[in-house]
Structure formats: C-alpha cells, structure tokens
Amino acid sequence: MIPRTICGNVDVQQNSSDMEEVDKIIIHSLRQVGCDIEDEIESLQQFTTELVVEATVRCLRVIQPGLTLPVSLPSSMSARFRIGAEIAQVCSDLGYGGDVGYQTFLYSSVTDIRKVLIFLIEKLPKESEKVVEVPSGKAALLQQSLSDLLRKQFNTPWIPNYCKNKGIRWFKDGSWSREGYLHCHQFYSCPLVVPPVTTKKLEITEKSKDYYKMHTPYITEQIKNSNELVPSLIQLNANSLTLEQLHSEKDSSVLMKPWLPSLEKTSKLMSSKDEPLEPYARSLVGLSGKKPIPRPRPPPKPKHLTEETPSPPKSTEEVPADKEKTHDEEEKDSEKSIENLKQKMEDMKISFEDLRNEVKTLKVKASQAMEELREEEKPCQEVEERLALWRRTQEILPRPGSDGLAGEGVERLKSMADGSARRLLSLASAWDEHRTALLSEYRHLREHDTNRTSEAQRQAELLRSLREKTREVMEEVREKEQIRKQLTTEREKVNKDVGRSAYTRRIMEIIGNIRKQNEDIDKVLKDTKEVQKEINQLTGRLDRSFTVADELIFRIQTEEAKSVASNLERITADLRQMRQESAALAARLERKS
C-alpha cells in the first residue's frame, strides 16, 4: 500500500529532517515497486546515477506497462544520453511540469531527483486499482500477448497500405506486425517434385536417386510465382499425409492424428482410396491415346480429412485383403500403360518419318509447279505480245476487198514507221533545245557557284593571313611598348643623377679628339709616303748611277789601264788620308760631345 501522503504541488522545504522523511518514503515506495535498493541507503544523496535511472525506469514501467526502457544504464555514452533523453521525454509526456532533461538523470542534483521521484510516485496507480494477474496456462499467456499486441497496435496511428511493404509495419521497439489484407494472395498450388519420404520403405531405384540428386531443381525453382511456394508445400504435405495414411492403413501401423475417428476414416479412405491416384492414372491413359496429353492435375485437397459425413463402417477383415488386391492391380495397370506408351512411341516415329518424306516431296512438287508456271507464263506473254502486234498490223493493213496488195501494205508500213520516226525526231529535237539550254545553264551556274566558293575560300584565306599578320604586328607593338616602358623607367631612374649634357659634351670632345688624331695620322701617313717615294727615287737613281759607273769604269779600265796603278796608288793614298781625317774629325766630335 503506497501511502498517499505526498500529494499535488508539494512545497519542498529545505528542512533536512523533512527531507529525510521524504527520502525515506520515496525509498520505501521504490522498494515496493521493485527497485533493488540497499538497506544502507537512506537518503537521495546516496543515490548513484544507475540507481536513479533504475528507480525512474521501474516507476515508469509500472505507470506505463509495456515501456521498453532498460533498467540498467549501458556503458557507451551515446546510449546513456539517449536513454536519459527518452526517460526525460516520457516524464514530460506524463505531465511533469518541471525542467527535465537527460542531465536530470545522468548528472543529477538531489532536489531535481527528489522532485521527479515524487512526481512519479504520485503517478503510480494504487494497488487496489492495479490488477496484477499471474498468467497461468498457455491459453492465458496467449491471451495476454494478444492483448498486448492489440494495445500496441491501437496506440499507433493508421497509415495507408502504400506506406507498408506487404502490409508489414514496424514499431518503435523493433517489433513488427502485419496489417490489412492487400498482401494476401490466393491459394494456388502446383505440383512439386521431391524425393519421397515415407515411413513405409518404398524401393527407390538408383536412377531415381540419381535424378533426385542431380537433376531435380529446388522447389523454389519449380514454382512459377513466389506466392505459390507456401500453398504448394502445404498441399504436398497434405498429400503425403494422406498417402502415408493409406499405406499405414494397409500395414495397420499407428494412426496419425488423434482428432479423427479411426473407423470413419478407414471407411472414407476405402471409398475414396483412388482419389489421389486417379488423376495420375488418368494422365497416363491420356498419354497412350492420340488426344493431346492433359497436364496432370494436382490431386484434389484431401477433403475426406475435413469432411465428417458418416458412412457405414465395413468389416475390418475385408479391409486388408482389398488393400492388397488394389496394390497389385495398380502395378499391373502401370505396366500395361508403359507398354502402351512404348507402342505409341513407335507408331509416332513411323508417322513422323512418313510426314517428313511427304514434306520433301511436297517441296519438290511446289518448286516444280513454280517452274512450270514460269515456263507457261513466258509463252503466254509472248503470245499476248504477238497478238497485240497482229492487231496493230491488221489495222494498218488494207481491208480485204480493197485494191491494196501485200507489197503496198509493207510499203505503207515502212512509210508510216519512217513518218513516226521523223515525228519522234522532231519532238526529240524540240525537247533537246530546251534540255540543252537548261543543262548548260545548270552547269554554268554550278561552275559559277564553285568559282564563287573557291573565290570565297580564297578571300577567307587572305583574311586569315591578314589576321595573322595583324596579330603578329600587334605582338611586336606590344613587345616594343614593353621595352619602351622599361627603358623609360630606367631612364627615369638614371636621369636624376647626371645630366644628359655632360655626356653629350664628353662625346663631342671625344669626337673632336678622334678627328684630330685622324688628321695627325693622315699627315704622318702622307709624310711617310713622301719619304718612301724619295727613298724609292734615290734608290733608283743610285742603281742607275751604279750601272753607269760600272760602264764607265769598265771603259776607262780598258782604255787607261796604265794609269790605273798610279791612279790607284794616288787614290789609295787619298783614301788613307781621308780616312785619317775622318777619324780625326770623329775623335774631335766625340771629344766635343
């Protein structure tokens, strides 16, 4: 019994004793709810975060049964934060007026927690109101889960079918349920091939085993539509059940479901024993005849399992005997049908061969017929043409009875032919005038056009080259501009230091000097030339005088050979004297200088 001492808007006093009292009450209530609080903890100050969360969650679970918040906090921070926020949300949903957030539970302050817990405990329903039922028995459990589910479904808003995939709808807590009927489909089953599994040991041949192992496709591939899988499986199971029962009846083994009366069942099975097998037999018969092979229908639903029509029970002694007989009969039937089938196959082969031959002959006949047709058409055409020709000649030829002769007719024909030829020629020439005029005009225009296009091309080329040139010139201009700018900047930089006139003066001076030097050089050159000329003259003169002297000496030598010696003496004496004099002069010069 939760004491309803704490009510409505409690004015929380800061009095510690009151607080202690309140805490005690809170802890007691929480213990009653189911929180595992240790005895030592007596005030909310001692509450850990986990304990706070556990307490809140348990209270919320009691207030809102079906709440899926965990009691214990997970380790990861983000999960903790999430849970804290959820708890806060639920609390505010319930109507808690105060400021509540994840921080209230995760980073708790005592006063906040107190307020929240007080609020929650107030919200807790009274014991008397709550009906705690201990579910007992499977039926009760089922009902409980049904009511839970229904409640959950009623609490969620309706959404239309196109928002649900096949009618499935997911809930917040991760569960799902199917709603509506649009996802339903009809019960279409189709026959499946599976290896037979029965309690009775049927002999399965090696070949069948092999077939089942290697060639049978999976049942998911045996069906045309995925919706057919479940119905087909259900049908297959039902069929095998009935067959099983049939066989089991023969062996008098344990009967199947306890909810079917045994006698009635056997009688029903007796009467309808051929039902599952009949379609098979019928289909086999269908193969042997010449009518088209009917698709083997799936065996009809074992109605006798659900029917409860009474029928007179037969004696049990007859039952096993009849069963054996039918089994042998069936085997014989199947053998007979196999024989029939083989026979039919042979017949069909023969007929196929015949048909093939027939087709061949027919083809040949067709081609022959076509050839004949063509051959007959040709003379037919020729005959027609000749007939037309005959008619025309008849028109032209003179009528019988007149005076015309055959020769004349030929002449007339010839003249007519010539006349028409001439007419044709005149027409042709008239046409030709027009034609040639037009043709020449056309050609002329085409030429003109091509010329124009070539002219246009040429102009385009010219234009292009001019454009190139302008571009180049522009480039150059740009470059020159750039250089000019550069130089002007340089000049401006340089110009401040020294004036331009100094440079020019110096240049002029240098030029003058150079000019003077040039003049000097020229003079010297002239002098040198003159001296050289004189030297040359003198050398020439010297040579000439030398040769003259030579001659003279030669002449004188021969003429005055006698006076040579005396002369020679005189001369040598003179020479000696001269030498002495010159030596004396030289010595005097040296002494003087």
Partner: protein
C-alpha cells in the same frame, strides 16, 4: 517477217549519264523511259561517281527480265560536249547478246561525242529499232542480223575453267545439272563477266541464259531477283557474298580457286562413280591442246546427253502429254547405291521427268 520484227523489238530503252567538270553526275537523256529501280541500278553500276580516273570497260548485267549494257566513254576537248568529262551510255534490251550491244553502244557513244547532239543518236537508235540496221559515217553499217545469238556461245572459256579447277569442275557441272543456286565471286568485274559466260556452255542442251545473272551486287533490289528463283548462276564482285550462305548452294571463288558447298546442299552433291568418269573425261578434254573450245563444249554436251538418255531409259511411265516420267518405284527397284539413286532422283526433278 514476223520473226525479224520480233527480233528487232529487243531494244527497250537507252539513256545517257554524264559527269561534268563540276563533279556532278547527271542523267541527261532517257528514251523512251525507265523505271525508278532501273534508274537507281544504273546509277550504282555506271561507276561515274567516285574515282574520276578509272574508266570502266563495257559492262552488262541482268535486272528482272531485262538485260542492261553500260558503255563508258571519256570525253576529250575535241569533242562537242562542253563541260562534260565522261559519260556512260546504258542500253536496255530483252536478249543477252553482249557483242551486238557493245558494238551498238560504241557507235552511239561515238556519234554523241562527235555531234554533241542526242538527236543523231536517237536517229540511229530508231533506225536499228525499225529497220535492224543503221548507217554511220565512220563505222559503216551496223546490221543486227550479223550478231546471231547462237554465235554467242562461242565466246566461252570452258577449257580455262576446267584447267583452273581441275577435278572440282565436276561440282560445277553437277550443280548446273541439278539446277542449284550458284554464286561466282571475283573482285574484277571484267574477269567475272567473262567467266560467267562459260557456265551456260556446260549445259549446252538447255540453250538458255535465263538463269544467268552476270553481275549482282548486294542490294535489296537485286537480291530480290535471286530470291524468287530456285536456280540461278549469279556473279558478284563483293567479297561479303561469301558470308551470305542463304543466297547460294555452291560458291565458286575464282581468285582463290575454291568451291564451297553450303551445308544444305551437301547431300545432293555427293559424288558417285559416274561423276568421277565425267570429271576425268573433262580433264582429258582440257589437256588436249588440239581441239578447239567449241569442240570441248560439244563433247561435254554429248556426255550430258548420254547421262540423260540413261535417265530416260528409266522413264517407264508416260504422262498425258506423252512425256516420259520416272517413278520412284522404278528407281528403287534398280537397287542402285544410295548416292547414285539420290543423284538420279534429283536429276529427274531438274529435267522435269520425275513422277511424284
């Protein structure tokens, strides 16, 4: 008289296509008229579009039931056709006579070149049409009568053919005999046209050119001609014909000297002892240098005649027209080897002697 008239009415139409200095290909003259299909065909075949320097030789072919002959001429400065570089004269006729039409085309082309006036050409044409002859100043007189069709068969090359293919010539012979669909390939049109004339010579006893399609291009119009027929000998200069297995039972590849048999015709082309005899006989004829082309053709015709006589001996039944026919039962009674029986069966069907 009537026969002569009928002969002259073999000419159907003629037309001129010119290529001028502007590079245009124009149709300048048509008399009396031709259909759009014929027109597009001739434009395709005349070879004036494209390469300017190549001048085509005299060409001919067959379209539907008419024969066309194309003669290309180069125009010189001295001729009276201003601004024209080349022109092609195309003649349509009902009969197959390349020599005759080549001469006629040449005469007409020359006249056109000289006078530059199609009226003169038309005059000559009409004269040939009405009288069977025409007079020209340079070339003398042209007489249609001179070009007898029978002489055509002389212009054949059977010896060459046998020498080229050796023993495989028997395949060509069998295919022609059994009226199969034959396609001949060569990349040069002149060689193709020349060799195509040889094929009818092997079947001298039939004396017809009805199955000949000397020049077929892979174009729907032309292929339509072939498709409607069970039996033809077609020439193609497009190499992709070799991949068109639907168009032939036998493909004769002249430059490669190969004969390919299509799968569906294989069973009818199985060789027997008779075939071997004929093959060896043909080889002997070809190697014999003393006998002429015509004699070769005659000898082969004789051999074929023997074969047909043998077949006729099996013809026990007579139809209402008095024509001897062979029954399947008679054939089976003889208990011949299956290949030979098959061959005789097919031969009888080809010669229209099979009673089915």
């Amino acid at each position: 008289m009537k026969v002569a008239m009928a002969d002259n009415v073999t000419l159907l139409s003629f037309c001129i296509i010119e290529r001028d200095s502007n590079g245009d290909v124009l149709w300048t003259w048509i008399y009396p008229s031709i259909t759009t299909e014929q027109r597009s065909l001739v434009t395709r075949k005349c070879g004036l579009e494209g390469d300017q320097n190549r001048l085509q030789p005299f060409l001919y072919g067959r379209f539907r039931s008419a024969w066309y002959y194309i003669n290309s001429t180069e125009v010189f400065e001295s001729d009276s056709l201003p601004r024209v570089k080349q022109f092609a004269l195309s003649l349509w006729a009902k009969d197959f006579n390349p020599e005759k039409y080549e001469t006629l085309c040449r005469i007409l082309s020359k006249t056109y070149c000289k006078t530059g006036n199609p009226i003169a050409m038309l005059q000559l044409y009409l004269s040939v049409l009405t009288r069977g002859s025409c007079m020209t100043k340079e070339n003398g007189t042209f007489f249609v009568k001179e070009f007898d069709q029978q002489k055509n068969l002389v212009n054949t090359n059977v010896k060459e053919l046998i020498k080229t293919f050796g023993l495989e010539t028997i395949l060509i012979y069998t295919a022609l005999l059994l009226k199969k669909r034959i396609i001949v390939y060569h990349h040069s049109i002149e060689v193709l046209l020349k060799s195509l004339r040889t094929f009818p010579a092997l079947m001298w006893h039939r004396k017809t050119w009805d199955m000949l399609f000397p020049w077929v291009d892979i174009h729907p119009d032309e292929l339509m001609d072939l498709r409607g027929r069970q039996y033809y000998v077609g020439g193609c200069r497009d190499a992709s014909i070799c991949s068109r297995k639907d168009l032939y039972d036998i493909l004769i590849n002249l430059p490669a000297k190969e004969i390919n048999i299509a799968p569906r015709a294989k069973e009818s082309m199985i060789m027997t002892k008779t075939h071997k005899e004929i093959a060896l006989f043909m080889m002997q004829l070809a190697e014999n240098t003393t006998i002429s082309e015509q004699q070769v053709v005659h000898e082969i015709a004789k051999k074929t005649g023997d074969l047909l006589a043998h077949l006729r001996s099996l013809a026990t039944v007579n139809t209402s027209d008095g024509k001897p026919m062979v029954c399947i039962e008679t054939l089976r009674e003889r208990a011949l080897p299956p290949a030979l029986e098959n061959f005789l069966f097919n031969l009888a069907i080809a010669e229209n002697m099979m009673m089915l």
